[in-house]
């Protein structure tokens, strides 16, 4: 399973930097891990979709299916000491950074067993111990935040980067350009990862960006465009970018990818793009199918993959059922963790006279 396999990925497009090789080394063990993780992501998101439709989940719910190779490839190239921050489309970071499907599902359902105890919901999932900084609901805000996390790495002399993920829509945000400039001035170890799924809500990239070549939009900062539907292309490019960034500072990566679902649950996802386009993506570029084919062509038995699929399905189904039986957070949790040091001061409830001193209690033991 460890025998090296060489795969040719789509050549990288580059901006102000030399392209890394597009021959990527992997092996069956790694590919199998990718398959497992990506398949889990896929099942999880599909389960979330169903649970939303069954009204177990409310509010916004942004699914990642179609984009699995991006995050999976990133994780393969970095360590858990490297940091990640992303937008509201954050379910899969939760599991890739070590969280369980159960705690994700419980969070989506607003249960106390959830990743953020039912307080954050779909858009606000974090793993501080795993250097995952969320889950940010405001388009673009995570970009300077990510540069700041990178600043902390550098400040402490750590040899780590911050992967700062954002969409093609977010790529036009002014704060991105401010962050790029400072990251450049201060040589921050930040990798700006633009997940170009070609739509920001219902707006096609070219309707929102005069220049939709997002890998060049760092202007004076180097950039690289990657086939984001190919986990190996991503892994290889991120490894390259990490090495570059630790040495030199910021770099922009554009991941050419696709979201299968609509933007969030109220968007059917089919008014601003054609069914044909979606189908072509699914049949021609699906990131999971690609790995499956590679595994099969490298001697892995179809039955073994089925077994993985079955296991994953079971894990996800069980997580869904367990999440359903979870409990709503107790009423007094409303008053936890507003401040780390509340300084004894009471906050006000809905009615006059209702005052509570909020408690710092990240354990939620009581």
């Amino acid at each position: 399973a460890a025998a090296p396999i060489k795969v040719e990925v789509m050549p990288y497009k580059v901006h102000r930097i030399d392209a890394p090789s597009n021959i990527v080394e992997t092996n069956v063990a790694e590919l199998t891990d990718f398959y497992k993780l990506m398949y889990k992501m896929r099942r999880m998101e599909i389960a979330a979709d169903m649970m939303y439709k069954a009204k177990f989940i409310r509010g916004f719910c942004h699914l990642y299916d179609g984009q699995e190779a991006v995050l999976t490839g990133i994780e393969a190239a970095i360590t858990k000491q490297d940091s990640i921050i992303t937008s509201y489309r954050d379910h899969c970071q939760h599991v890739s950074r070590g969280g369980s499907v159960l705690s994700l599902m419980a969070e989506l359902m607003g249960k106390k067993e959830g990743a953020t105890r039912g307080l954050g919901g779909s858009m606000h999932i974090y793993n501080r111990a795993g250097n995952f900084y969320g889950g940010n609901g405001i388009v673009g805000a995570q970009i300077p935040l990510g540069a700041g996390i990178a600043l902390a790495h550098k400040y402490r002399g750590e040899k780590n980067v911050c992967i700062t993920m954002y969409g093609d829509g977010a790529a036009n945000q002014g704060q991105k350009y401010e962050a790029l400039n400072m990251a450049g001035l201060w040589n921050l170890p930040v990798i700006f990862v633009c997940e170009n799924n070609h739509y920001g809500m219902g707006t096609a990239e070219w309707r929102a960006a005069k220049s939709p070549n997002f890998y060049t939009r760092g202007d004076y900062i180097p950039g690289i465009k990657v086939d984001g539907m190919d986990v190996l292309a991503v892994k290889n490019a991120v490894a390259f970018a990490k090495a570059y960034s630790l040495e030199n500072g910021p770099i922009v990566m554009e991941m050419d990818t696709y979201r299968y679902h609509g933007h969030s649950m109220s968007d059917p996802g089919s008014t601003y793009r054609t069914r044909d386009e979606i189908n072509a993506m699914r049949t021609e570029r699906d990131p999971i199918e690609r790995v499956k084919k590679l595994l099969l062509s490298n001697g892995v038995d179809a039955g073994d993959l089925k077994k993985i699929e079955k296991e994953v399905k079971k894990e996800v189904d069980e997580a869904v059922e367990a999440a359903k039986t979870g409990t709503a957070p107790p009423a007094h949790w409303l008053w936890k963790n507003m401040y780390m040091d509340p300084a004894g001061a009471a906050m006000r409830g809905v009615l006059p006279g209702q005052y509570v001193v909020p408690e710092f209690d990240p354990t939620y033991a009581k």
């Binding site: 409310r58 509010g59 609901g137 036009n172 704060q175 809500m201 309707r207 929102a208 006000r348």
Partner: protein, 324 residues
Amino acid sequence: MTVRDALNSALDEELARDDKVYVLGEEVGEYQGAYKITRGLLQKFGPDRVKDTPITEAGFTGIAVGSAFAGLRPVCEFMTWNFAMQAIDQIINSAAKTLYMSAGQINCPIVFRGPNGAAAGVAAQHSQCFASWYSSVPGLKVLAPYDAEDARGLLKAAIRDPDPVVFLENEILYGQAFPVTPQVLDKDFTLPIGKAKVMREGKHVTLVSFSKMVGYCLKAADTLAKEGIDVEVINLRSIKPLDKDTLIASLKKTHKMVTVEEGWPQCGVGSEVSALMMEHAFDELDAPVLRVTGAEVPMPYAANLEAAALPQIDDIVKAVKSIA
């Protein structure tokens, strides 16, 4: 008529009436509006009048304000008001202050609109109420419609107004239907800016609120009526200017007042109403003005906590009873 249709028809008519009026914002055109308030407008008025923007609030707000300085009448949609924080400098420092700074030379006829405050299950970054902040700023007018009549009458008034108007809608109300009179459907129907509406007359206690909470107050009033407490319900409609005369007149009748809002308590709209009654009607008060407000927490996601963080009809009933 739903609030959505009221807003949509108001935009439609004002676009037709005055070709200086145009609409811009994220997804207002081809997508027909994230909440479908602009449905059909692109098809009818074309892309120069209904402009899709990138997700760049600071930039498109500045562009909208600049175009208003130069004589156009933009209606600038924020997908929600939470996102307008990225653009608040342009709203305050450019739109609100320029007429004064320019000694009356440059006015800014613009409407900033979109859903404000809590929706359902959208958590801390998507649930903030901005009524009190904007209402503090001289140079701005701040409106908050409750029903379809408000939505039509206030939005049309806002678009025709020569000054910058912050227009705070409520996502949960969009789909709610209200009866309207034929007069409301008139294409020149407008409501006066700066005037509150007495939704229900009563003599024991005055309830003061705006937006979605007006409906809650009306329901609370029904409940209280059954217990013999006759409640007057005031719909502020305009948070700036704030119609203190109507409030004082009501207090002079009931001598008791409770304010209700979904926003946070500190320095909220209720604080202002309370302070005004203190200053202007101290001797009329038979009990303290009480505030029912959103709890002082970032909005939690879970449905039960979210409900606990927002005023419920029961809370209003309780507050009224505590002084009735």
